[in-house]
Subunit: 225 residues, 2 copies
Amino acid sequence: MTETPVTGLDELSATDRTRHRRLREKGRTDRAALHEVLSAGFVCHLGVLTGGVPMVVPTVYGFDTDHIYVHGSAASRSLTPPDTVCVTVTHVDGLVLARSVFEHGVNYRSAMVYGVPRSLRGDEKLTALRILTEHAAPGQWDYARKPSRKELAATTILAISLAEASVKVSSGPPDDGDGPDAALGLWAGVLPLATTWLPPIPDPLLPEGITPPTHITVRAGKQLS
Amino acid sequence: MTETPVTGLDELSATDRTRHRRLREKGRTDRAALHEVLSAGFVCHLGVLTGGVPMVVPTVYGFDTDHIYVHGSAASRSLTPPDTVCVTVTHVDGLVLARSVFEHGVNYRSAMVYGVPRSLRGDEKLTALRILTEHAAPGQWDYARKPSRKELAATTILAISLAEASVKVSSGPPDDGDGPDAALGLWAGVLPLATTWLPPIPDPLLPEGITPPTHITVRAGKQLS
């Protein structure tokens, strides 16, 4: 697998928590790489402390230049400000099948963000919800009915700064192609995974004649990340 | 979306941490549902406490009837026994596109396991590594070179009991098909996501004439989960 070395303190802060220590892991600390990983998905895993124990919940996110916004309802009962949370976004790109079991691995792209979440209110919350909605479902903010005041009040959106973040990318073939195990004569390579949008399935309660808008149909057949 | 109610204390322990509190979330506490979710993937998100802060790392897992086994190298530097960890496995099945932004959501299957990890040694570690390898890459344990004593020593495998676990499944169309928003005349439904294995890519260093074994090629075109 390609080893991208830790590039140092480019733009993102590499604290003790986000500095990469493992040799086989590849760290990329620049902001473009972070935005690339965040662009490629819409579900993150949010780690919060609850009764002294970490709880990891999947939730939807969006982001802009400086913040990641997560739908915080699942975690809000456990959040005790100013507790730090960890948001991890992972894309699994394939299995690395090596000549030895030991060299097997996963090709992936992953971003990890640490920060103290701020629960948004008012216009800030509405803006963040639009960013999050448009990130997961582009075109739907203008197409669907926008949230009422009551619905907005019932929604928890957390903003977490992207200042303390790291990115790890693992790609390419297994590492043992030029080692002694090459002599075993075994097949080795990568079994890639692709996550693809399928054609939209209409709600069974939808009346006849309502067709899906283009901003939805264009996604069918496209890869998520 | 289909709301599967909490089925109660079937076989799995529903502690305060794993009991579902949100109305829209669907809890399934039986062991078959748990095994179903764990079967459908091979990368989990492991939450560990590090300096009083939760850290969420993606890692490979396998499981048997009573335990989930996770590759613990990424987390091992932070683990302080007997700290409890949280292992979450999530499959994203699609986007729920409703008539209102508020009713938008994600169809997913997710399992959450809490437990005190045990770092395995000797035969137990070898057995767990076989389970984990065969879960991610079926057929490779017998095909590839098995780990040497030194390689095994350099591998951290954590075992976590499945006794305290919960499953949430969200599926089906949006909820607002029979509410007042139906009169808006907007399209609504689900945009499904499929994660599929692609044909294997040989290591560029592989000599001519070594073809991939059937246990690898049969996966191409199949859905992961």
